[in-house]
Symmetry: none
Subunit: 196 residues, 4 copies
DNA sequence: GATGAATGAGCTTTCATTCAT
DNA sequence: GATGAATGAAAGCTCATTCAT
């Protein structure tokens, strides 16, 4: 493989990455249904006709957007795992959520709103994909609760992640980032209050 | 003549009501964006062209669907208010949510998912409408907490309604009605545990 | 025929007259194509469904609008014929045109613009109708020139009416009523300058 | 590659030009309102959906038709300007009008009828566009009168162009090309008669 | 006759996807 | 691989006309 070939491959991958990132962002802002391929192509600065070399259908692009959100989640949990105390990790998670309050108040939780939208579909199997990303988050949270030795770590995970989805939705529907702050504080106190 | 006239009027209103009900249901199942006027017309057994006699635009139909959900909510709270104890009212509300667990697991909370979808829009003002319906619920819940003499009833309302939205979203994303049951039980216990 | 019957007939005719007048005005302002039956019905304060008792088709309404303009023209020429001198009649005609300068600058000559619009059609025969109304005007003008003993009265009529149509169109296209005033003055001088 | 590229570009532009020419012609014949996008697409031999690649809305196509007429006018005046005597230029203009007598008798002056139609609109700003094209003609005519050293060249221009619009409308309404010939002859004599 | 409601054909526009080079 | 252009299947909406009472 010559230099120019690998350069080409690298450039191609760069385009794919740009399209993925653009899809994640634009779909978060506009929703999957209202987002056109042209929207994403424009945001990624890729010619429309070229998109189809990287993604065979629009659904694949939406799936890529989901993957991108999963990747972001992975980066976040990886960072949090450097903290020795699982309790601190969970609190760090909540703080990360609150840190995104303005985006949440404007567009909701990227994964949650996308899951809600995709669940309205019957075909394509994309609905299941969205569930998987949320499951990733649930599993990680559950693991932290388990390491804390708390009973029913799965139930606690549902409660915490559910609270996050709920407060994001309310903040979004009421356009009020303050809801994220307030509920975030409550969740931090709640985490602190849990005892084995 | 009077009879047939009022029959006509009744029939006409009946059609409008049929369209509203159909819109509420189909939009809940498919989402506003994926729902076509023809879908709603078919569900209401009304010719497509005739829909526009009752609703000037698709957005008006979506707004009618929202109103319908607000009406349902009104009926529910009215029924609950017959209970003398505000605590019982709130518990009745949670039980109603759990009673809808299968629908929630399949399509999410009607108002919540619609709010999330409409909030992706910039124009039309429908996004604000969805927020208002959620506000109705929040206000009613807050009022119950206030009557119980609890501090920060608005914060408690956010927590309860947020939990509902969150558990609906998770149940929907994971297609698991059990989540509604489990979290519902937790909320009932939480309500019981609150003291002035 | 009882009183109530004739009252009904009178009322019905009144409706027909109202519809005709409304058609003439609304069509002049919006053009035949952009005018809906509902527009005319609203302007005439007649229920839409009722229009069809007086006019079987939209084209009949447009034809009625044309007749209305012909009637207006008839009233004008009748008034002018009270003047003993044909030259004064022609000058009175020009003055009437100039008197309508604001309407002309906004919507053009009612008959001329309607004729231009209807002439784009192949079917229905309405195009010929519009020509007839213009012919009425031409004939009357020609008759005045003839009474003045001028040669080629038909050619003079074409020149005068053509000038009117042209200045109306320019005034309309440039939205400048001053054109009506200026060209009107020129036509008055021209009429005065003609000698047998 | 360069050849085929430029061929592609040329072909693409050719399509746009074909659409523009078709729009100019079909709109002249049928009027803007009665002309459908499908009509123009068919005349240009372009699939309907593809039209929107070149023109975002129907109004843009109508504007293109107007531009086309302005272009035709520009070509004509450019040709006339090769004549040294402004008087000959004006007479050449009148002769060009008379040369179009059959088209005028069938469909009227392209710019005049379009202006009359578009002036019935309130929105879109297309009405002003039509006025601009007529202004171009007025300005050119005025310039010729000015070069002849005649007083009030702007008024003379209004008279000449107004006469053209008027005779076109009458020829059209009465379906008589002879009107163009007759009035054309009169205008030629009039131009000859003017002295500084 | 009178009237609100019904009907369906037709129009503009959008957009995912495919094609030709 | 890259790209502008092409394609056609919807979708929302309008409106002349007809219907039922």
């Amino acid at each position: 493989m010559t230099d120019s070939t690998s350069a080409r491959v690298r450039a191609a991958s760069a385009k794919r990455r740009r399209l993925t990132a653009a899809a994640a962002e634009v779909v978060h802002r506009q929703g999957a249904e209202r987002t056109t391929i042209a929207d994403i192509a424009r945001a990624a600065d890729v010619p429309v006709g070229n998109v189809y070399y990287y993604f065979k259908t629009k659904d694949e692009l939406v799936a890529a957007a989901l993957d991108e959100h999963a990747r972001h989640l992975g980066e976040l949990t990886e960072r949090l795992e450097r903290l020795p105390d699982p309790r601190d990790r969970l609190k760090g998670l909540v703080e990360a959520w609150v840190g995104q309050r303005d985006v949440a108040a404007r567009y909701g939780c990227p994964t949650g709103t996308l899951a809600a939208e995709l669940d309205k579909r019957d075909e394509g199997g994309l609905d299941a994909e969205a569930g998987k990303v949320i499951r990733l988050l649930l599993d990680w949270v559950e693991q932290q609760f388990r390491e804390l030795g708390l009973p029913e770590p799965d139930g606690l995970a549902l409660t915490l992640v559910g609270a996050y989805q709920g407060m994001s939705l309310l903040a979004n529907a009421l356009r009020d980032p303050g809801i994220m702050t307030r509920e975030g504080a409550r969740l931090l106190a709640w985490i602190d209050s849990l005892e084995a």
